[in-house]
Amino acid sequence: MDQERSAFLTAMIESELEDAVGKENVSTTTADRLIYGYDCYWLSNHWSAHGKTPPMADFVVSPGSTEEVSKVLQIANYYRIPVTTVGGTSGTQGGALPVAGGISLNTKRMNHIVEFDEMSMTVTVETGMIFQQLEWYANERGYTLNHYPSAITTATVGGFLAHNGIGVVSTKYGKIIDQCLALEIVIPSGEVLQTAPVPKHSSGPDLKGMFIGSEGTLGVMTKATFQLFRIPEVRLFRGFLFKNLTEGIAAGRDMLQEFKPSIIRLYDEAETVSIIKNILGVAKPGVFMNIAVDGKQKMAEMEMERACEIAAEHGAEDLGAEYGKKWWDSRLTFFYPGKFFSYPQMYGTMDSVAVYSKIENIYWEMKHAIESTYKDVRFIAHFSHWYEWGCMIYDRFIMDRPPEDPIETLKLHNAIWNTGVRTALKNGGVVNDHHGVGLKLGKLMKEQYGPSMKVFEGLKKTLDPNGIMNPYKLGL
């Protein structure tokens, strides 16, 4: 009886959704629902690879405009149906998994440029556009967004905003929150919010900042305005070999006090081995740093001269430009199947960020905690995305042969993550730097924020009183 009643209501809701976005943009087929059941979260891949049914929404709904998003959210809010916004499904934290069922709200039909304002050097775009498409649009007109994450070909504009993502030239050009000037957001009531038209002002707190990084838990971001940059005249590379991480980190910090390289990547000893063999043809101990400076030739050359001097002051060997150029050209190659770690290898990237006085210690503490607690798990890292005050550590654990039993592996995977992130937190790091929190790390948010979590919870209650937006994510 109950089932019949619910089938009736489901059919009613389906017809309302069809009315909102068009029949062809609502799907209840098993195939369409399955396809949104795993993203790039290792555990969701693992679950699916074991032939287990992934978490599935009841409806896949693909609105084509802000107005349609608004209608969908009003329906969902009225019937109290969970809504999980999904873009490119390339998130690594399980953020787009519809674990509570309901609606998978696919943004990828919203993929148009809204305004290209060359005078102000800004572009406004719908958030379902794949970021590479946006970058190409700008490139064709002589501009760039200077946001080059490794997921540029896979992820949507909204996905990067939702996780507050970062690209490889962030040291000079910032994280996506620095590059985004304004946002449009639809909240569960169906109301459309606009942040201030410009990012810097004293008209109250930063409204835009409350949504960037909110991972679809407060509403759906529908439009975003970004800063445009002129394509740099040159990008110069240089490789250095330092004796140890302490010297390498100090050199990076000193460079940041004088100018902003667009790229600084400092690899730990384990990662350095293969790079150095590649460059010199022989093994040599130390830690490798690859840097790039870009812009007008004259200025870039001056910056590079200073970079070389600072590296020399810290005892580095100058390894020339060739590796950096090659790395830039093939920077995405690593992420293709067979070139990257791949299933059934178990791996995870536990990026954290901290001030200079703490960052190296975080590396050693995490490495020790993970390698000494878990047999056959190795830990490697590099430091990229540098600021005047500190930098990001991109550390990765890898286990080549995880246990066969899927539940045992799930538990082991979570235990390794807990160990790594708790060690980072204990030593002055954060839950995550740029991949976000999602389902994977939600439980650790309270451990980072303590009572400050109340601010996020209050925001959630106000904007999403029925708790429909992306349940069980971000610890909310």
Binding site: D32, C40, S62, S90, T153, T154, Y336
Partner: protein, 359 residues
């Protein structure tokens, strides 16, 4: 079920997100199922026994086999392998979507996606000659002007050539639509036999899809048309370079060149058409996505069963072309001429037609 080769591709693509940014269908519809990864995920679920065969066939036919995904793939995977096999399976399991069914039925009956046979009026040609000109189904039925231009050009160049009187379907379109069925091989074998009987040492294809099929697919089935296969663009560029074909009335306009997928990616041929354009006196204005990064127009096979999606794919490509400011969008594939011409009108022209006007 799927071959081992197809399974290998499925297993790689289902956990990979790297090439969705170039999939024209995924970009046009915004559906995850229309991305290379999405299609692989669905095929994998079919392989693991999920009862979704009927639901996924629409997504398998909604691929223009443009190979842009494969061209971006740093590891060398090719989703077309499992997509073609998924189409074959749709036939075997009787799950071809209703919109596609009439075209599939036609292809099975006639070996071509078109209702008509298409016999463009051509001047009398010898039974046997050194060069066999292969018109292909799209030229015969939809673009007879390209056949007339080709015949005119070869005549002006003094080439000893002929065209099969009753040219049978080549089989390339059938291979795209239903994959490697015995029926596909039979159609190809019939064509190859007829071509070989013409005794030509050189075979010139007006449709790059046919050239690819004869060069890359038929040999796998032991089928050999008996001569060296050339694309019309490469062959004509050779005639211009050797001086056999002379440009007498140069066209001094501006043109952009839309690289056909089959030509640029599958046959890795991008320059002969540009050389021809330059020989015509045209000023070339390149689109941002050119050569092997070209964006598919949708293609005739897709258009035959899904005109709405094809329009969503073709129009942005025409916009790319218009943004160059060129007077004409030139292409070198009858399918592209047909699809882009349908949406772009006189702005679109085939390279052979322009060349013929200039020679």
């Amino acid at each position: 079920m799927f071959s081992d080769n197809a399974k290998k591709q499925i297993d790689a693509c289902r956990f990979c997100w790297m090439c969705r940014h170039v999939c024209p269908v995924g970009l046009a519809t915004g559906k995850e199922a229309d991305t290379p990864r999405g299609r692989a995920v669905l095929c994998k679920y079919v392989l693991t026994g999920m009862d979704i065969q009927k639901e996924i066939t629409g997504d398998m036919f909604a691929c223009c086999l443009c190979n842009n995904c494969a061209s971006w793939c740093e590891t060398g995977y090719r989703p077309e392998v499992f997509i073609r096999e998924a189409r074959t399976q749709a036939l075997v399991t009787d799950t071809v979507p209703p919109a596609v069914k009439p075209v599939v039925d036609r292809v099975l009956e006639k070996g071509t996606i078109y209702e008509d046979e298409g016999r463009p009026a051509l001047p009398a040609l010898p039974e046997k000659a050194k060069v066999l000109l292969v018109l292909g189904e799209t030229v015969r039925v939809k673009q007879p002007g390209i056949a007339a231009a080709a015949v005119s050009l070869l005549t002006k160049a003094g080439v000893d050539f002929t065209v099969l009187k009753e040219e049978p379907p080549v089989g390339a379109m059938m291979y795209d639509l239903v994959g490697e069925l015995q029926e596909t091989r039979d159609v190809a074998a019939k064509f190859v036999k007829a071509a070989a009987a013409a005794g030509a040492g050189t075979i010139v294809c007006l449709d790059p899809t046919d050239a690819r099929f004869l060069k890359q697919d038929c040999p796998r089935w032991g089928l050999n048309p008996g001569g060296e296969v050339y694309t019309a663009t490469a062959y004509l560029a050779g005639l211009v370079e050797s001086g056999a074909l002379k440009v007498k009335k140069p066209w001094k306009g501006t043109a952009t060149f839309h690289d056909p997928c089959r030509l640029a990616r599958d046959l890795e041929e991008t320059e002969p058409a540009r050389d021809l354009l330059k020989a015509c006196g045209a000023e070339l204005k390149e689109m941002f996505l050119n050569r092997d990064s070209t964006r598919c127009c949708g293609g005739e096979v897709m258009s035959s069963q899904s005109p709405k999606v094809t329009a969503l794919i073709a129009n942005p490509r025409l916009d790319d072309a218009k943004r160059t400011g060129a007077e004409l969008c030139i292409t070198a594939c009858p399918g592209c001429s047909q699809v882009l011409g349908t949406h772009g009108g006189d702005f679109v022209k085939n390279i052979l037609e322009l060349l013929d006007e200039c020679c």
